[in-house]
């Protein structure tokens, strides 16, 4: 064996040795990461975000090492390490979403969409066996001729996102942050919140308690009214939502399409003779037995009627 052949031989050996050593270390670190993933759900909730970040960082480092080692690794090992890194990331994502859903007394979005001619009560979305108070966010979209009753004294609302409703009434308690509305037509909402934004909507009547200036953009035929829902526990609801009951700016609307000093033609305060204070007709004992006809008749009493 001449010297040149020997060098090649040694190089090949050390390459193999390096690949072997790398593989061992890679698997060791992978096992450690898998173990910390499995134990994640045992940790205190407040620690979980930083733990997850730590794990993600370790995975990223592992991936980087594998990339650096590409020169030494046989093709099979390259593929395997790639796949294993990807699996780790997927496991991490799965673990996080499982932890989130297992904490669902605190972490939840209720989605209400694609209904027609229906009376929808929040109670049908709640787990009736539990009497604990809960916090939810709501995503409400694509409803026509519906009545949505979200009032429930054991439920606090984090935020409401609304899109694409027609001929629909939403009666809601008070929202801890903001309400965002897009693409609605001939609806009436009864809501309280810190911030109110409404875009691309028309023929709306908004009964509102809001502690900052409400805004409208690309809207017309909008009527604003003060929040007139009175039900037991209202004071408590204001407190829970951290809303100042004495501060209501429902009539300080800013129209983002109307920057002049004169009043915007796109909205007005509701005439006093039409200000509704009694909402009892929206309280239905048996939502399953209400006819389409009676839903329509309720809607026609409350919704916007063009003159």
């Amino acid at each position: 064996m001449n010297t040149e052949e020997q060098t090649v031989q040694t190089e090949k050996l050390s390459k193999e040795a390096y690949a072997y050593k790398f593989w061992q270390e890679f698997q060791e670190e992978r096992t450690v990461i898998q173990k910390s993933l499995k134990e994640l759900y045992l940790k205190p909730k407040s620690k979980i975000p930083s733990l997850c970040e730590g794990i993600l960082q370790r995975i990223n480092e592992l991936e980087k090492k594998a990339t650096d080692a590409i020169r030494f690794l046989p093709a099979y090992d390259q593929r395997q390490t790639n796949l294993q890194v990807r699996d780790l990331i997927e496991d991490l994502i799965k673990e996080i979403s499982e932890i989130k859903t297992s904490n669902n007394e605190k972490l939840q979005t209720i989605t209400i969409n694609d209904h027609q001619n229906t009376y929808i009560n929040i109670n049908s979305y709640l787990n009736s066996s539990s009497s604990e108070s809960k916090v939810f966010d709501f995503q409400i979209s694509n409803l026509d001729h519906c009545i949505v009753n979200l009032v429930n004294s054991t439920v606090s609302i984090g935020a409401i996102h609304i899109k694409g409703l027609k001929n629909t009434i939403i009666m809601s308690g008070l929202v801890g942050s903001s309400i965002l509305i897009y693409d609605c037509e001939r609806c009436s909402f009864l809501v309280g919140c810190h911030q109110f934004r409404m875009h691309t909507s028309k023929q709306m009547i908004i009964y509102l308690h809001v502690t900052s200036h409400p805004i409208i953009e690309d809207c017309h035929d909008i009527e604003f009214a003060p929040y007139t829902l009175t039900n037991p526990g209202l004071n408590q609801m204001f407190e829970t939502a951290n809303l100042d009951q004495a501060n209501n700016k429902y009539d300080k609307v800013e129209d983002f399409n109307w920057l002049r000093k004169q009043a915007s033609p796109n909205w007005r305060v509701i005439p006093i003779e039409r200000l509704r204070k009694d909402w009892s007709l929206l309280e239905v004992d048996d939502p399953n037995n209400i006819t389409e006809e009676s839903i329509k008749s309720i809607l026609n009493k409350i919704l916007f009627t063009p003159n």
Partner: protein, 169 residues
């Protein structure tokens, strides 16, 4: 180290950086700024203008704002599941802006205090952040209301910019 002290240190070195805070409406941009500045956040009214929509309609006015921008902070309403697609599209469009080439990108997955907030790891997927190769980026889950993790995000973006532009001298 807080934002103000970071900025003060930079000033002492007679160096300034310029950050743009952008995002869809209702993302919490004003609340983040006020929180960082120690102002009251309880009665913030929605801000007129200076969002991506105005940007399209009113390009010439906005364009000046892109000049000499060292970093972009993109704010996301983590609970707004219905508009994640819009958010992705607007972000993509923004990153094509030539004057932002080389700017560091911090994504704030804001409103983590809300019950329906998506985790930063899901937002990373939904916004396809891993496909961003034109900018240094990082995503930070945070809550402007509780103040959680705002400074961590600011630390990252400031350090990333410093290492990029001040390492020359």
């Amino acid at each position: 180290m807080g934002l103000l002290s970071i900025l003060r240190n930079i000033r002492q070195k007679e160096k300034e950086i310029r950050l743009l805070v952008l995002g869809l409406d209702n993302a919490g941009k004003t609340t983040i700024l006020k929180r960082l500045n120690g102002e009251d956040i309880n009665t913030i009214s929605p801000t007129l203008g200076f969002n991506i929509k105005t940007l399209e309609h009113n390009g010439s006015y906005w364009r000046n704002y892109f000049e000499q921008t060292d970093g972009v902070i993109w704010v996301i309403d983590s609970a707004d599941r219905m508009r994640m697609e819009d958010c992705k599209r607007e972000l993509k469009a923004l990153l094509q802006e030539e004057r932002l080439a080389g700017a560091s990108l911090l994504l704030f997955a804001n409103k983590q205090d809300l019950p329906g907030a998506l985790a930063d790891i899901h937002i990373r997927e939904k916004l396809e952040l891993d496909s961003i190769v034109t900018h240094h980026w990082a995503i930070q889950a945070c809550s402007a209301v509780t103040g959680e993790n705002l400074l961590r995000g600011m630390d990252w973006v400031v350090e990333d910019i410093e290492s990029r532009i001040f390492s020359i001298d």
